[in-house]
Amino acid sequence: MPLLDVRSITSRREFVQRLAAATTATLLLPEPFSEAGTQESLVVHPVAKADSIIVLWMAGGMAAPDTFDPKKYKPFEVGLAVPDVISTFPSIPTAVDAVRICQGLEEIASVLDRATLIRSHVQPDLGSILHSRHQYHWHTGYVPPQTVACPHIGAWMARVLGPRNPVMPAFINIGQRLEGIGENEEIKAFTTAGFFGSEFGPMNLPFPEEAARAVQPPKGMDPGRFSSRYSFFKKLVRNSPARDYISDYHQESMLRSLDNAHRLLGAKEREAFDITREPNEVLKQYDTGRFGRGCLLARRLVENGARYVEVTTEYIPFVHWDTHDRGHETLTKLKKEIDRPIATLIRDLEIRGLLDRTLVVIASEFSRDMITEGQPGSKAGDQANSPKDFLLLPNHYGQHRHFTGGSTVVMFGGGVKKGFVYGKTADERPCMAVEHPVSVSDLHATLFSAMGMSPKTVFDIEGRPFYATDDGKGKPIDAIFS
C-alpha cells in the first residue's frame, strides 16, 4: 500500500506535489506562522508513535462511575439512600489484576491489558453546562465562542500530517448526523476544518451502512457511464483552446482535486467504505447497531490508510449517553451496543498488526453523577453535592447529572502502556480527579504528540498565532507511553 511518509518530505514544493490528495497551497489558507514571512513553521514535531487514530466518541456525557471508574455500588431498591450509592453497576474484574471496570463491559474488560486508563480527565466548568459547548471544546481545544472558526482536532491532523494514503480522505467522521437532530447548528460549528478551509474538513458518514454510497457514482449511474463521463471531461481538458492556462496554478490544483476524487471513486480503496464486503460472521461480531457498524467501518478505513477517524454514538439531546432519566436502564442497553464492537476492533487491529501504530481513544465531553445538576456559576465540586434523598422510582436510578470534575479516557495501542492506570478520582462524592488531573489541552497534546505533531504547532490566522492546543500550552502526558 503506497502510504505517504510526510516526514521524509523536505520542501514545501515537494510536499504540495507529493501530497496528491491535498491541494494545500492556496492564496488564502493560513500559512504556518512566522511574522517574518513565508518560511516553514520552525516547530519541531515529535517522533510519531502512531500513524492513525480512532476516536470512539461517547456523545452526551459518559458517566465514569458506571463505566470505567467503578465506585461504591448498591442495586436499586425503593428507599435507597442516594449518599449510599455512586455506581449503579457492580464492578467486574478485567484482564489486568487490580483494575476493575463496570458490569456490562465484559468484552472490553477482556482486552484491557492492551489499554491505558486515564481516570483523571477534567473539563473546565463552563457555567451552565451545555453539551455542545463542551463538545466544541473537546474537539477543537478552544472554549466557544471564538472569534475565528476553530478547526477540529481531526482537521489539525489532516492539515499538519496529511493523509496516510493519498486517495483516502485524512479525516473521517462516522455516525453523527448534522441535520434533523437537536442542536445541529452547534454540532456543525466544530465539525469543521474552520479557518483551514474545507480541504481539511471531515468526510461525514452519518450511517456506516451507507458509507459506500458516498464514494460511489451517483444513484442510477453505472460505473461504465461514470468513468466515460470522466474520460470525456479529461478529453475536453486536453482539447481546451485555453492553452495558456495548461500549467496555471489554479487550473492545476482544480484538476488535481477532481482527479483525486475520481481516483478514490474508482480505486480499490473505495471498497474500504463498504462494510458489506466483510464476511458475515465478522459483520455479525460488530453489528450491535449503528455504532458497532461504525467501528467496523473505522477498522476498514484505517487498514486502507485513513489518518483520523471518529466514530460517535451520535449526539442527540437526551438520547444515548445524555441520560437525564432511566440512566441505569439506558446504559445497560448502550453498553451492549459498544462493548463487543470496541473489543472486537482492538483484537482485529492487533491480529492485523495495526494496533501498535493505531491509537484508539474512548472519550466523552464530561462525566456524570447521580443526583445534582450543575447550576450556572457553580463549580465542578458543587455539581455532585448530593441532597439527602431517597430513591423511590427505578427511573431515577442512574447518572442523571453532568459532572466535569473527573472522567475516564481509555486508550489502546499507539505506543501507550498496556494495562496501565493514570490518575484517579475520589472514592466519595464529589468524585473529583485527585491525582494527575488532565485538561483537554493536555489530553490533546498527548494525542497530537503520539501522532507526531507538536502541540505547539501554530498557524497565522488574521495575523495572529493560533496554536494546536490553547496558546501552545498543552503538555503531553509522557507517563502513559511505554
Partner: protein, 810 residues
C-alpha cells in the same frame, strides 16, 4: 549617591521578584514578553530597525547582540545580560529606551525572570511590525501621464507602476471573455448566449462601457449577487447558532432592500452602526448560551465586528490584551465597545478583571469624539457619523480594497482585513477611495470605474506559483474561483432546477403603485369530479380553446396543481410546477395570438394519492386597451389521453372522449395558495416573470458548505480559493447535484430537441460563452451519440461545468 539609587531600585525589584517566584507562574513569552518588547524596544530594534546593529526580531538576533560584541543576553543569567544592564542603567547615555520613560519595574522583573528561565521564545516567532499606516484622510493623487492613449485614471497609475517594475502589459481580453467575466463579477450570473452574441456583433466602440451600465442596472441581479458578499461580512444567515434561543437576529430584509436600492455606502454603514430595528442584528451580535469569555460579550463582538468589517482593523487580539501584532490596545477595544454598552464595562485582560473601566471613545479622535456621557443611542449615532466622515480614510480604503479584491482576485492590501499592511500601490487605493467619496459613496460607481479600465479588461496572466507575500507584484487580474453561490446559480440556470421559494424573507419585486390594481382572481379549482377524488398517480390532460378578438399587448398566465402539472400554449411548453402552494407562471404576450388559442395542461396527482385539482388563469390586455381573462371553470374539458412533449395530440390520435371538467365543491381546500396565486399573477403581469430564486436566498446545504459557503457565526471576508478533493467527490456524486443534472437534462431535451449539434452549441454557449471548437465538437458528438438522451446530455453538461474554464472566472 548613584550607587545608592540603584540599590534602592533593585531592592524594590527583588521584593517583587520574590513574590512572583513564590507564585511560580511560568513566563509566557507571547503574553508577558512580546508586549514589553513591542512597546519599549520595538521602534528601534524590531522589524527593519536595528539601531546600534541590534535587532530583537528573533531569539538568535537578540542573543547575538549589536555592533559591540556583547551578547544581548545570557540565557539563565539575567544579571549578566546586556539588555537588563541597559534598561536598568541610570546613565542617560546608556539607558534603554534612549527616549521616553524607563521601563516599569514590573516589566523589568518579567524580563529578568524570562532570561533567568532560559529566555523561552515561541518557535518560529519573529517580531516584524508592519510599520505602515496610511494618513487618516484620503489624499489627492497626481495622475501620471496617459500612455498609448490609455486615459482611464486607473490605467494611468497602473501603466506607470508597470513601467517602473518593468512588467509587460497583459494583452486585452476578447469580447466573450470580457462579457463572461464582467457579468459574473457584477451580478454573479452567466451571460445569456443571445446577449453574448449581440455584444460580440455590436460595432459600437464604446460597447463595453454601455454593457457595464446595462448590467449594473439589473438591480435585482446585482443585489442578489452582492448579498453573498455582505452576508459573509455582516455575519448574516437564515439558520445557524444562536437562532434556536433567540440570541441572534437576521438583517436579511433590510440588506436585500438596501442593495436593491444601491443605498449609498455611508448611509448603509450608518444604518448598521446606528441601526434601525431591521438592521439591528449586526451590532447585536450573537448572544451565546452559557457563560462566555470576556472577549466574546456582545459589546466586544460589536467592537470587533464593526472594526473588522468596515475599517479592516483586527481588534480580536486586542480583545484579550494589547495586540502583539498591531498597535491596537485592550483599552481601545473596550472603549469602542463601551460606546455600544448600556452599562459600564470593566477591562478584562485574558478573561481576568483588571479593575479599570472603559470610557466610550472611538479609535480616531483626531476627527471628532463620541460624547462619553451621552446615551448609548446617541453615542452610536455619533460613532456612525464619525465613521462615515469623509475624513475617515479607513472606511473608504477598506471597502474599495474589498471590491478590488473581488474583481481582481487580490486586494491592494492583503489580506483584506489588515489595512495596516502596505498596499502594493498606495496611489491606486487613494484614487478609488476618492472616487467613492466624490461619487456620493455610490458603490456601483466604484465598480463601474474599475471594470471600465483596461487594467480590469486585460487577460488574466497564467500563475505558476501562488503569490502571497509582501513582495507581490501586480501583473494583471487574477482568476477567481466561482463562489458556492455563483456555481450553484449557474447550475440552476443551465438545468432550470432552481428552487421555487426563497428561504430568505425578501421583497424581490417592487410593485409599481402607479399601475391599476389587478382585478380579483376568478379561476376555480377543477378536476374530473367535483369531489377532487383521484387515484394515486392519476394523470389527465385538461384543455380549453379560446378566441382573442385582437392582438395582445401584454399577458401572463399563472397555474398551479395538486400535485404537479405542465402547461402548454399553442404547441409550446410554458411552465410547470410540482408544489401546489407555489403557483408558477410566465409572460405569454408573444405566445398568445389574435384568433384561436389552445391551452393544454397535463396534470397529475401525487403517487401518495389524496385530492387532486388544477387552477389556471390568463390575464392580459389587448392592443385596443381592453382587458381579458381566461381561467379554469366548468367550460374546460379533460381526457385520460396524454399529449406529446409540445402539448399536442398527433393528428390521427386526437382523443375522442373529452369530458366536461367539474368545479371542485370545496374550493377552500387549497386556500393556502390563493394569495400566492394572486401575487404571482400580479407580479408577472406587471413586472414580467419572477426571476430565478438564487442560492444566496436559500439556507445553506452541505453541498453549498462544501463549496465554500461559510458558517456565518463569525465575520468572513474571503472564501477558499481552491477546489478541494472532498468537494470534488461531491461534485462527482452528491445526490442533489446529480438530481439537478438528471432533471435538467430531461427539460433541456424537451426544450431544445434531440439535435446533437444544436444541443452542443447551446451547452457551450450557455456555459462558457463561446462555441465549441471542432475538436470539442467531435468528442462531444461522440459522447452525445446520434440520438442524444437525457443521460448523455446530463453527462456532457456535467463535464463542461466541471472544466476549470467554467469554474474559474477569468
Amino acid at each position: 549617591m548613584r550607587r545608592f539609587f540603584i540599590l534602592a531600585a533593585c531592592c524594590g525589584l527583588f521584593a517583587l521578584l520574590a513574590v512572583a517566584e513564590a507564585e511560580e507562574v511560568p513566563i509566557d513569552f507571547a503574553h508577558d514578553i512580546v508586549p514589553i518588547v513591542r512597546v519599549h524596544c520595538g521602534k528601534c530594534h524590531t522589524g527593519d530597525a536595528r539601531q546600534g546593529g541590534f535587532s530583537m526580531n528573533t531569539r538568535s538576533s537578540a542573543l547575538a547582540g549589536g555592533d559591540s560584541t556583547t551578547p544581548g543576553f545570557v540565557a539563565g543569567q539575567a544579571s549578566q545580560s546586556e539588555i537588563i544592564r541597559r534598561i536598568m542603567s541610570s546613565d542617560p547615555q546608556e539607558r534603554m529606551p534612549s527616549e521616553g520613560p524607563a521601563l516599569p519595574v514590573e516589566s523589568i522583573a518579567l524580563l529578568r525572570r524570562w532570561i533567568d528561565t532560559q529566555a523561552p521564545w515561541t518557535e518560529g516567532f519573529a517580531f516584524k511590525g508592519t510599520g505602515y499606516e496610511s494618513p487618516l484622510t484620503i489624499r489627492t493623487i497626481e495622475l501620471p501621464p496617459a500612455q498609448n492613449g490609455r486615459t482611464h485614471p486607473i490605467d494611468r497609475v497602473v501603466d506607470a507602476y508597470w513601467e517602473k517594475n518593468s512588467i509587460a502589459r497583459p494583452r486585452p481580453s476578447d469580447d466573450r471573455t470580457f462579457m463572461r467575466r464582467v457579468t459574473l463579477d457584477l451580478v454573479g450570473l452567466l451571460p445569456p448566449p443571445q446577449r453574448v452574441k449581440a455584444f460580440v456583433e455590436d460595432t459600437n466602440p464604446a460597447k463595453r462601457a454601455v454593457l457595464v451600465r446595462e448590467i449594473l442596472a439589473q438591480n435585482l441581479d446585482y443585489a442578489e449577487h452582492w448579498m453573498t458578499f455582505w452576508n459573509d461580512l455582516l455575519r448574516n444567515d437564515y439558520s445557524g447558532t444562536g437562532f434556536i434561543t433567540g440570541g441572534r437576529r437576521q438583517i436579511t430584509t433590510w440588506l436585500h432592500r438596501s442593495l436593491l436600492d444601491n443605498m449609498p455606502y455611508d448611509g448603509f454603514v450608518r444604518h448598521l452602526v446606528s441601526p434601525i430595528d431591521e438592521s439591528r442584528g449586526f451590532i447585536d451580535g450573537i448572544v451565546w448560551r452559557g457563560e462566555v469569555n470576556a472577549s466574546q460579550i456582545v459589546p466586544i463582538q460589536f467592537a470587533q465586528n464593526i472594526s473588522q468589517t468596515f475599517l479592516g482593523i483586527n481588534l480580536k487580539c486586542a480583545s484579550c490584551h494589547d495586540s502583539f501584532i498591531d498597535r491596537w490596545t485592550l483599552q481601545q477595544t473596550y472603549d469602542l465597545a463601551a460606546i455600544y454598552s448600556n452599562s459600564p464595562l470593566e477591562l478584562h485582560r485574558c478573561d481576568k478583571a483588571t479593575g479599570s473601566k472603559a470610557t466610550p471613545r472611538w479609535l480616531f479622535e483626531e476627527i471628532g469624539r463620541v460624547d462619553p456621557d451621552a446615551s448609548p443611542h446617541v453615542r452610536l449615532e455619533q460613532l456612525a457619523n464619525l465613521m462615515t466622515s469623509p475624513d475617515n480614510g479607513w472606511l473608504s480604503r477598506t471597502i474599495v480594497n474589498r471590491l478590488w479584491h473581488r474583481l481582481m482576485g487580490r486586494g491592494f492590501v492583503h489580506p483584506v482585513d489588515s489595512m495596516r499592511n502596505r498596499p502594493w500601490n498606495e496611489d491606486l487605493l487613494e484614487l478609488l477611495s476618492q472616487h467613492l467619496i466624490e461619487h456620493a459613496w455610490d458603490l456601483k460607481s466604484v465598480l463601474e470605474f474599475i471594470v471600465t479600465s483596461e487594467t480590469y479588461a486585460a487577460c488574466t496572466p497564467p500563475v505558476f506559483d501562488q503569490a502571497q507575500n509582501a513582495d507581490f507584484i501586480f501583473m494583471g487580474p487574477l482568476p477567481k474561483r466561482m463562489t458556492s453561490e455563483q456555481f450553484t446559480d449557474a447550475v440552476w440556470m443551465l438545468t432550470g432546477t432552481a428552487p421555487l421559494k426563497p428561504d430568505a424573507e425578501v421583497v424581490r419585486i417592487k410593485r409599481d403603485k402607479a399601475l391599476p390594481a389587478l382585478r380579483p382572481i376568478e379561476a376555480l379549482w377543477i378536476w374530473s369530479n367535483a369531489l377532487a377524488a383521484s387515484d394515486p398517480g392519476e394523470k389527465l390532460a385538461f384543455h380549453k380553446q379560446f378566441t382573442l378578438p385582437a392582438a395582445v399587448s401584454h399577458a401572463a398566465v399563472v397555474s398551479t396543481c395538486d400535485n404537479e402539472h405542465t402547461l402548454f400554449l399553442n404547441g409550446k411548453r410554458i411552465c410547470a410546477g410540482s408544489e401546489w402552494s407555489v403557483p408558477v407562471g410566465e409572460l405569454v404576450t408573444t405566445e398568445l395570438v389574435h384568433g384561436t388559442n389552445d391551452v393544454t395542461v397535463v396534470a397529475a396527482n401525487g403517487v401518495a394519492g389524496g385530492p387532486a385539482a388544477l387552477k389556471v388563469e390568463f390575464h392580459g390586455r389587448l392592443i385596443d386597451g381592453s382587458e381579458f381573462n381566461v381561467h379554469t371553470d366548468d367550460s374546460w374539458e379533460w381526457t385520460t389521453a396524454i399529449p406529446n412533449a409540445n402539448g399536442r395530440f398527433p393528428k390521427d390520435h386526437e382523443p375522442g372522449d373529452w369530458k366536461k371538467a367539474s368545479v371542485i365543491t370545496n374550493q377552500n381546500v387549497w386556500a393556502g395558495a390563493s394569495r400566492a396565486f394572486d401575487t404571482r399573477l400580479a407580479g408577472i403581469t406587471v413586472d414580467g416573470p419572477m426571476p430565478m430564486v438564487r442560492a444566496v436566498l436559500m439556507k445553506g446545504t452541505s453541498l453549498m458548505a462544501a463549496l465554500g459557503r461559510p458558517n456565518r457565526d463569525q465575520v468572513v471576508t474571503s472564501r477558499p480559493v481552491d477546489l478541494t478533493t472532498l468537494e470534488a467527490i461531491q461534485l462527482a456524486n452528491e445526490p442533489s447535484l446529480a438530481d439537478e443534472f438528471a432533471r435538467g437534462s430531461r427539460q433541456i431535451l424537451d426544450q431544445h430537441g434531440p439535435q446533437a449539434d444544436a444541443l452542443l452549441r447551446w451547452m457551450f454557449e450557455a456555459s462558457l460563452s463561446r462555441s465549441p471548437t471542432s475538436e470539442e465538437t467531435a468528442s462531444a458528438l461522440e459522447m452525445l451519440g446520434e440520438k442524444p438522451t437525457a443521460e448523455s446530455i446530463a453527462d456532457c453538461l456535467w463535464a463542461i461545468v466541471m472544466l476549470p474554464e467554467f469554474q474559474l472566472i477569468r
